[in-house]
């Protein structure tokens, strides 16, 4: 298969290092701007919810972290798959960089979810909720990936073995998602009232979307920073790195 030129350029560590260095600050600035604006609009401008009062404001952080966590796993598996098939070391570097960020966001989703659950559901942790279980299993998948990597001393082997785990995991993610979803409908336990109320009004929707965009930029900013660090770690002693260091820009 013939691949376009930019694809090959993305396989070159110095090119990607510089690209990440150039893009990173812009993403970071956009993320900070959007997050500050979204937080202000969400916490100050948006009206309280008629049903939940002030507690509902968790929707300006909780769904976003959950979504970033899932996106991070898909990116991890996609990058790992590319790395495995075309033997691209940089794709593996992307996968490695995405794992801890995704795990942190998934963890944040669980924490913010239980902070919201305490006043609304009356419990920090509801075993019967499928989404909590899904997030928990997703966190385990991230941890499994990182533990497997850490067990190998040879980085190249760790890359290729953990890539297989990532791909197997991402195939399983929808299965796990639907199984926990169905589990709850099969489970004749106490049902939690869902808040499928009227769709959000625009003064709530705008900060919500601002936060979604802000966290997305934030994720890619963090990813690029980790990627730069990962590239430096992998290319130790390479000539372009020494030249860059000599220029005082590394």
């Amino acid at each position: 298969m013939k691949l376009p030129r930019w694809f090959h350029m993305l396989g070159s560590p110095p090119y990607v290092y510089r690209l990440a260095g150039r893009l990173g600050p812009w993403l970071g600035a956009a993320a900070c701007l959007l997050l500050v604006l979204g937080t202000y609009m969400g916490l100050v401008v948006a009206p309280p919810d008629y049903l939940q009062g002030e507690v509902y404001r968790i929707i300006y952080i909780h769904p976003q972290t959950a979504y970033i966590g899932m996106m991070a796993y898909v990116i991890l598996a996609f990058a790992a798959g590319i790395g495995f098939i075309w033997r691209l070391k940089l794709a593996h570097a992307v996968a490695v960089s995405a794992a801890p960020i995704g795990a942190s966001f998934t963890f944040c989703a669980l924490v913010t979810g239980s902070i919201w659950g305490a006043p609304t559901w009356g419990t920090f942790w509801e075993w019967g909720d499928p989404r909590i279980m899904f997030e928990l299993i997703l966190l385990f998948l991230f941890i499994g990936y990182m533990v497997l990597r850490a067990a190998f001393e040879d980085r190249d082997k760790a890359d290729r073995v953990s890539a297989i785990l990532g791909v197997v995991g991402v195939v399983n993610v929808p299965i796990i998602h639907y199984s926990v979803e169905w589990w709850n409908t099969l489970h004749q336990g106490p049902t939690i009232t869902r808040l499928d109320g009227p769709s959000m009004t625009s003064d709530m929707l705008v900060p919500f979307l601002l936060m979604v965009a802000g966290f997305t930029f934030c994720f890619y900013w963090l990813l690029l920073m980790r990627l730069q660090a990962e590239v430096v770690a992998r290319e130790q002693g390479a000539r372009w790195l020494r030249e860059l260091a000599a220029e005082g820009r590394a």
């Binding site: 385990f140 998948l141 073995v161 399983n172 796990i176």
Partner: protein, 221 residues
């Protein structure tokens, strides 16, 4: 196909000559399930309520025990490298080994579980459903375990992390299996979860060996 049968026969022969290793996971299963009444309480109603879940978790854990012999012995004495050189595709060889693993660890479990389930006073109709659910779930379990074993085959002590890798992926099996058993105990229709277990079995048996073979290749490079 001949390659598949030859490997299957060889692995079964090897397994049945080491009966103690064969019995370990089953003993483990019996011991774990008998620990639950000690830890919880010997209350009949409670044990009846948690019985299905306990049996499923114990079955899951005991199948993790049997995985050391899946690839490790062959890798250590070099026969795996010889097998990889053969014209038979590695995924077929892996599938044969998974089948052998399933016959050795899954089938005895299916035979044993109804007996243990009786001690938890699960109703008779639930026993059949549980056996059927195990029959459908254990192939998937063997495939997942083989992927875990293949991923960690080049590690000195892979056993400790296989659980971390495989158990989260097993959660759908646990959900559908335990639910089918529960539904049967309550006298309700069980076809839904059983169909899903069957679908998972077909899916994992057709794709899983490819993943395990890829992992083995990387591990032995």
């Amino acid at each position: 196909m001949t390659g598949f049968i030859v490997i299957l026969e060889r692995d079964l022969k090897l397994a049945f000559r080491r009966v103690s290793e064969l019995a370990n996971p089953l003993l483990f299963f019996v011991i774990v399930t008998s620990l639950f009444p000690l830890a919880l309480s010997p209350d009949r109603l409670l044990l009846q309520a948690v019985g299905a879940g306990v049996l499923w978790v114990a079955a899951l854990l005991s199948s993790l025990l049997a995985l050391e012999g899946l690839f490790r012995a062959d890798v250590e004495d070099g026969s795996m490298e010889q097998l990889m050189l053969s014209p038979v595709p590695l995924s077929i060889i892996v599938l044969a080994k998974i089948t052998a693993h399933w016959i050795v660890s899954g089938v005895p479990l299916i035979a044993l579980v109804p007996v243990v389930a009786l001690s938890f006073e699960l109703p008779a109709q639930a026993l059949w459903v549980m056996a059927a659910a195990l029959l459908l779930a254990t192939p998937t379990l063997s495939v997942l375990v083989s992927i875990g074993a293949a991923l960690t085959v080049s590690l000195k002590s892979g056993g400790s992390i296989i659980g971390l890798l495989v158990l989260p992926l097993c959660s759908p099996l646990l959900i559908f299996g335990a639910r089918a058993t529960d539904l049967a105990a309550q006298g309700e229709a069980v076809a839904g979860p059983l169909y899903l277990l069957g679908a998972l079995a077909v899916f994992s048996v057709s794709l899983g060996p490819l993943a395990a073979a890829a992992a083995l290749k990387v591990g032995l490079e």
